[in-house]
Amino acid sequence: MNWIQVDELRVTLLVMVALLSWVVLRYTWRNFALEPSRPRAMGWMIGCLASVTVTLIANHFILFWLSWVSISVCLHRLLLFYPERSRAVLATHKRMITARIAEALLAVSFIQLYLWSGDPTLSGTLDYFSATGVVPLGGMITLVIAALLSCAQMPFHGWLMQVVESPTSVSSLLHAGIVNLGGFLLLSFAPLLTEAEAARWLLGVLSAVSCGLAILIMSTRISIKIRLAWSTCAQMGLMLLEIALGYYSLALLHLVAHSLYKAYAFLSSGTVRPIHNVLVRNSWVTLGWFLVSLVMINLALWFSFGHFKPTAAVLLSLSITLLMSQAHKFSWPKSILLALVWVAIYTALTLSAAQIMQDGRVHIGLDLAVAAWFIMLVALYWWLEQHVAHAVSQRWFIRLNAGLYIDEWFTRLALWLWPRPEDRHRYDSVDEEKSAS
């Protein structure tokens, strides 16, 4: 029985984790210089990263599950690095609810798979599947829910935003690394997932909703780290969505690219520079650009991959549209060149990723539905941006800014489960000797 396994996917991720570990650990080491808490920070971080490494190479279900839980435990200590911060405590409690459910579901899913195939390893399960061609739908659905939870998808997202109450390097480790594990989990079971139709629908719909809403909410937030956190929620949504659509190579590319980008963005968040939402000036011209690039890109993708990719085409067209609407900042030839280079890079990267990870069966119905959902959201976004004075726009802006009032219920649940300790001395007439310490 093989306890560990290594393949192209895992090697890619191991290299990424090694690079990130080097950067994040070095950063932490320097950050905590002179602090008595330095060994504690380094210790739990190394524990976390070691557990991640084990999870990546684990083949046996028990090893996989134990290392998965171990990541969670180490991360818990890091998120609660300043236990005197009441909001850090609250966020950690919220995460505990989500993490415990996800771990339980993962265990249930592994048990279901074991009962179905009689083999307690990942490779064994996949072999059994390729031999029989039957899919354990129940096991896959539990797995998908576990992945959604561990990728902090809505409505279980609140903790991800609120753990900015822990040091920057912890945020970076979490957002660039650990939160991706849900994606890795599903990619490891990719062949089974391809055939589990209901699981794909579930994953696709929930992640598309979460991704679209989170990215809109991001644009209404006011601080750098919270914006980055909402962006993570949306990017994880897109990664899971790509998995649901069968674009495993794209999901892998997304996972790696997002990790590096987000690690950089968090670690450099101290640099004072403005954040700009690019605004579009003339909406009709922009719409024209969007339609033109949508057609062209669909064709380009069809030529490159042999089939249409509606969601990918919509997202790519949105970037190109925005690039072209900024043409006044460069020059026309330059912006067209930029757009071409952009598409070329995208295609090249996707094709390279396909060398590592095979795509699954494309799910064109779900794909079209998701593409339509994104177009609708973009229309909403553009309308909100263009009509700032309109009462409806104002109302939606306030709602989005408040995170659509989803997380408040979760906060109450967490506080109900873990009430605040009574003895906080907060509102006694202040006792000087105590406040001194």
């Binding site: 590319l253 590096l260 450099s268 101290g270 690019v278 930029l338 990267l349 202040v430």
Partner: protein, 752 residues
């Protein structure tokens, strides 16, 4: 009752402004309280919001044991007084009282949520002006915007588990004046003026960070008491929350409301007495504080007039900013033969600002307004293409796809250095300034600076040295830069000084004003990089003699100075240089920590004394200032700047959680970089981060008020104080101490 709004305005005017991150300069958070005795203000802040302006009993007890207090200045029973535990009365706002009366272990606390809601809204108002700013309103639409948001927001009621709460925002008037009138006529009708003053200030100080940021919004240095409308609206918003909670309590529970109104009335009735009790209890603390400062002052004995001999004809002169970090460097320079250093405020008296790529930034103290604008031709900038493409990652519609295309490329940044040094610190060409129109004010400025320094002899080489801190990824970097240059690098001012004074026509014009600069004198510009204590050339390369002198002085400083987490020895410069390029570095330098004295005197009185990098040194020759006008200018400009820096450091130590900005590892830039949150909770943060004053085991800044020493006659000092309305109350009310430096080197305390 129109007086109520008048009281509110008075309280708002007491908030000190806070500059945004990129131009951040040190401010005394109590600046508009300096008309009152420091002990009284300390009691008020302690009483209304538990903010300390003086250290606690445990601190002084320890200092007393270690012999750091001058026991002659202490009462006999000091030890006993310091060990008595104290229970002090405190003012509580309605939110606080409701939190105490309701058992909210399983619910969010009102105080936390109210501050968070207001804080997040102020962020929205700043970050999304197109949605919330209404120019037609005196407060830019702050109050109306808040009403819209709070009436719409369904989340608060869910979160607080009080479903009727939103109903209470509907009856609030749409106009801020009407709100104040309504509350004055009804709810707050019965309270005394004293009680209302405490209450209004207690509300304001709950959101001190945003009050300070809003206070800056329309800040006009020439009329500091004007333009308080945004702060007034913020106070109105905070007051409205208390009122809403009051009304809600009234309808929700009779028992809760009875206890609430009873407690509120009780504290309103005895607030004056309570605050006096706090003042009484803090009396011993201020006595200890004085003894603590005095003991340290005894360590420094300045030279008598006959002792210190200054080189009459130096070969080289270097003018430094008065910043305390230049003191060790100047000492090392002055120890070398033929070298004389000069101390002057680091903007060198130039009333300028710097313009680059449509951005303007001041290059002078925060109390002044730029009159002239300087530009630079060949500023190297990140290309527009890179910036525009990078913005795709920030924009919601494109960011999903942009991550896949650009993410890997961005990841390269993880492994490369980021070199954030300003382009102005590595000049490529001369600065551009429109001399034709601005010759007169520039000549005035140059003549003013040179006269006030009292230089009678110009050496062959004269270097103007600005200063700047080269390090990365620090939202509060401006706090380490030149405060006299508006939190910027002093390079622009040094370069402009050198550029102007080397021009023959300017020299001619100065000569007409009685300032003769010999033809052989060349001016140079340099930059004191304060992380590594190097002096970098900014103009044409220094002559060898100058370069060597500087290098020797820098090396001498590096041999002795204590730097954060760097070992001494041969590789020290390399180690320090590494810090300038490390994006994870949170303690690039201690900055101005441990600042203690300001000495306005001729250099010969201080040159031979080791002042431990704790003194601001400004050159001054009283004989050239018979009417004390130069002295008056010195105490009201550099003197006030030094006091602001001193009080920023002091309060960041006495109240690190309220007047300091907390842990740097949690800093989170907010709303167009107006400031930082710690994590995402609570108010905007003011002051210095913990890392700037704390080394992991102890304070790096000894909390002392500034001790100002002036070498002049008694009557000159009195005259200067009378001519400086901003500085005189600081002395009168003990926000700093003033001494006259006698001929024999004695310090004689002066009272205003």
């Amino acid at each position: 009752m129109s007086e109520f709004i008048q009281l509110a305005r008075q309280q708002c005017a007491r908030v000190a402004p806070m500059w945004p991150l990129a131009e951040s300069i040190a401010v005394n958070p109590c600046w508009f309280f300096t008309d009152k005795p420091v002990e009284r203000v300390s009691a008020i802040w302690k009483y209304v919001s538990d903010i300390d302006l003086v250290m606690d009993r445990a601190f002084y007890r320890q200092q007393l044991l270690q012999g750091h207090l001058d026991e002659q200045m202490l009462p006999m029973d000091a030890t006993k007084c310091l060990s008595e535990p104290q229970r002090l009365p405190r003012w509580f706002n309605v939110t606080d009282i409701v939190d105490q009366l309701q058992a909210r272990q399983r619910k969010m606390l009102w105080k936390d949520e109210v501050v968070l809601q207001i804080s997040q809204f102020c962020g929205l108002h700043t970050e999304f002006p197109e949605r919330f700013v209404d120019e037609s309103q005196p407060d830019n639409g702050l109050y109306r915007g808040w009403l819209t948001v709070v009436r719409e927001d369904k989340g608060i009621a869910t979160l607080m588990a009080e479903s009727q709460l939103p109903d209470y925002f509907d009856p609030l008037p749409d106009d801020i004046d009407a709100l104040f009138h309504m509350l004055a006529d009804d709810w707050l009708r019965h309270y005394s003026e004293d009680a209302l003053n405490y209450y209004l200030f207690a509300l304001l100080i709950d959101v001190l960070g945003w009050s300070s940021a809003l206070r800056y919004r329309d800040w006009d240095p020439s009329a500091p008491h004007h333009n308080i409308e945004p702060v007034l609206s913020l106070l109105g918003i905070r007051l409205a929350w208390d009122y809403v909670l009051w009304q809600w309590a009234k309808d929700t529970s009779t028992e809760l409301f009875n206890r609430l109104s009873q407690r509120f009335a009780q504290q309103a009735a005895r607030c004056q007495r309570d605050c006096e009790r706090v003042e009484q209890s803090q009396k011993i603390l201020w006595q200890c504080q004085r003894a603590y400062e005095h003991k340290q002052l005894l360590n420094y004995r300045l030279a008598s007039k006959s002792e210190g001999a200054q080189q009459a004809y130096p070969k080289m002169q270097a003018a430094f900013c008065i910043d305390v970090r230049s003191e060790p460097l100047r000492r090392a320079l002055d120890g070398q033969p033929g070298v004389a250093s000069i101390g002057v405020a680091g903007f060198f008296g130039l009333p300028i600002g710097f313009r680059s790529q449509g951005q303007r930034r001041p290059q002078l103290p925060g109390l002044l307004t730029p009159q002239l604008w300087v530009t630079e031709k060949d500023v190297a900038t990140p290309s527009a293409t890179i910036t525009a493409i990078g913005e795709l990652l920030d924009t919601p519609t494109s960011s999903l796809n942009a991550v896949e295309v650009l993410g890997l490329a961005k990841g390269i940044g993880l492994f490369s250095a980021h070199n954030e040094v300003e382009a102005t610190d590595t000049p490529q060409s001369d600065l551009t300034i429109n001399l034709a129109d601005n010759e007169q004010p520039l000549l005035d400025a140059l003549a003013g600076t040179l006269t006030s320094l009292g230089i009678t002899h110009f050496a062959d080489h004269f270097v103007w040295v600005g200063h700047s801190s080269h390090h990365e990824n620090n939202p509060q970097r401006a706090a380490m830069n030149c405060g006299a240059c508006g939190g910027q690098s002093g390079a622009i001012n040094a370069r402009l000084m050198c550029q102007l004074l080397n021009q023959p026509n300017i020299r001619q014009a100065l000569s007409a004003r009685g300032i003769d600069i010999p033809e052989r004198t060349r001016f140079y510009a340099g930059l004191h990089e304060t992380v590594t204590d190097r002096i970098l050339p900014l103009s044409e390369a220094f002559p060898d003699a100058v370069r060597q002198t500087f290098e020797q002085a820098s090396a001498a400083v590096r041999d002795r100075k204590q730097y954060p987490q760097t070992r001494s020895g041969l590789n020290r410069l390399a180690g320090l240089f590494k810090k300038t390029r490390d994006w994870a570095e949170v303690r690039p330098e201690w900055g101005l920590a441990d600042n203690f004295m300001m000495i306005i005197a001729s250099r010969q009185r201080t040159a031979s004394i080791d002042l431990d990098g704790r003194a601001f040194l400004h050159d001054y020759d009283a004989q050239q200032d018979p009417d004390a006008s130069i002295l008056a200018a010195l105490i009201s400009a550099p003197g006030v700047v030094a006091h602001w820096i001193n009080w920023q450091y002091l309060t960041s130590v006495t109240a690190p959680t309220r007047l300091g900005s907390g842990n740097k590892l949690l800093h989170n830039r907010v709303a167009q970089n107006v400031g930082v949150f710690e994590g995402n909770s609570g108010d905007l943060r003011i002051g210095l981060s913990l890392q700037s004053v704390w080394d992991g085991t102890q304070w790096r800044h000894r909390p002392c008020r500034l001790q100002v020493v002036v070498e002049a006659t008694e009557s000159q000092i009195k005259q200067a104080l009378d001519a400086s309305p901003s500085f005189k109350p600081l002395v009168q009310n003990r926000w700093l101490y003033l001494y006259r430096l006698a001929e024999d080197g004695q310090l004689i305390q002066m009272y205003a």
